[in-house]
Symmetry: C2
Subunit: 190 residues, 2 copies
């Protein structure tokens, strides 16, 4: 039996995305976003929702570029911290000890220690309620060689991304491999 | 050392969202979407990207409502199947044996067996490349009582959502509780 919980911004899983940007003086910043995801396959595009009071909001508006860095489980403390304080007040690379690597194709910093990085060029913005969606064209994906499989694609069990549970404000790890998509449901096509 | 993989629509974790809609003759349909997520806290809103050749695309354009159903691990085969075939050709509720429950606040069907359902009213659409973002205001969340914690919120380890790994086309389960958000990173604020 289902119970009505009212209107809530709940989804499972929500991602833990660490957005990298430069401010107008070239100082790098990081912030954590859970409101985002892929929004198009062609051209590969991502959407990230930010509020206007975020430092990152104004950085991206100026530079038109950002990175989306996927932290692995071992960096859950760093990923949490960069979502707690503002880049106006803190140099988050310095405080966490994470290493800045300049993106190759966009004007934004990325996190050397995180296994997967998306380099994104701002292509559009849309206002939705108190948030603005930043649509970014993914111009390159960079991944640590140690997380790649024999086809050169990241393996989720090596990336070990973090899952966020909204409303209960908790982080979880990734579980076991369950099967192949477009295949495990084949039994219903017979 | 990172390797460049080129532009790819990759993110970890991607969700497995089963979208419910009615066609113009009132027949219920389900489809699986991985390109989506929460896009606003106030009003609570979700974005789902669909291609125009999807049956669900035209259903939602007509009814202005849809549900987002979160399958638990035990329904990974059903969730995969409903993303493999078109509702033009198949009655996916009938084939899978999933039970249709009419949503309370929008004109859309939901899946009784899935632990969490979002009832969404179409508020806007945006074109992004070959996809269209459907922005839905979440007018209600419904969850099985058995997955709720003492505060009346869904517990992720009871919901057991499925994680999708794009490009490698694989499904994973949810892992262990790692800690509390806005807390586990506290050590860096000292």
């Amino acid at each position: 039996m289902k119970k009505s919980l009212g209107p809530k911004s709940l989804i499972y899983p929500a991602p833990v995305l660490v957005v990298g940007s430069y401010d107008s003086s070239g100082r790098p910043n990081l912030m954590t976003a859970a409101w985002g995801g892929i929004c198009c396959s062609n051209p590969p595009s991502i959407t990230i929702s930010l509020r206007e009071n975020r430092y990152t909001f104004h950085n991206i508006m100026k530079t038109k570029g950002f990175t989306v860095n996927i932290p692995s489980e071992e960096y859950v403390e760093e990923a949490d911290y960069v979502g707690m304080v503002s880049g106006k007040d803190e140099d988050k690379f310095q405080v966490t000890g994470l290493t800045e690597e300049k993106a190759e194709f966009v004007d934004a910093p990325s996190v050397k220690e995180f296994p997967v990085v998306l380099e994104c060029r701002l292509s559009d913005t849309h206002e939705v309620g108190v948030h603005t969606q930043f649509i970014g064209t993914i111009v390159d994906v960079k991944a640590e060689e140690s997380v790649l499989d024999q086809n050169g694609l990241p393996l989720l069990e090596k990336v070990k991304p973090i899952i966020y549970a909204p409303e209960s404000y908790t982080y979880y790890g990734t579980g076991r491999l369950m099967g192949a998509a477009f295949s495990i449901g084949d039994k219903f096509t017979k």
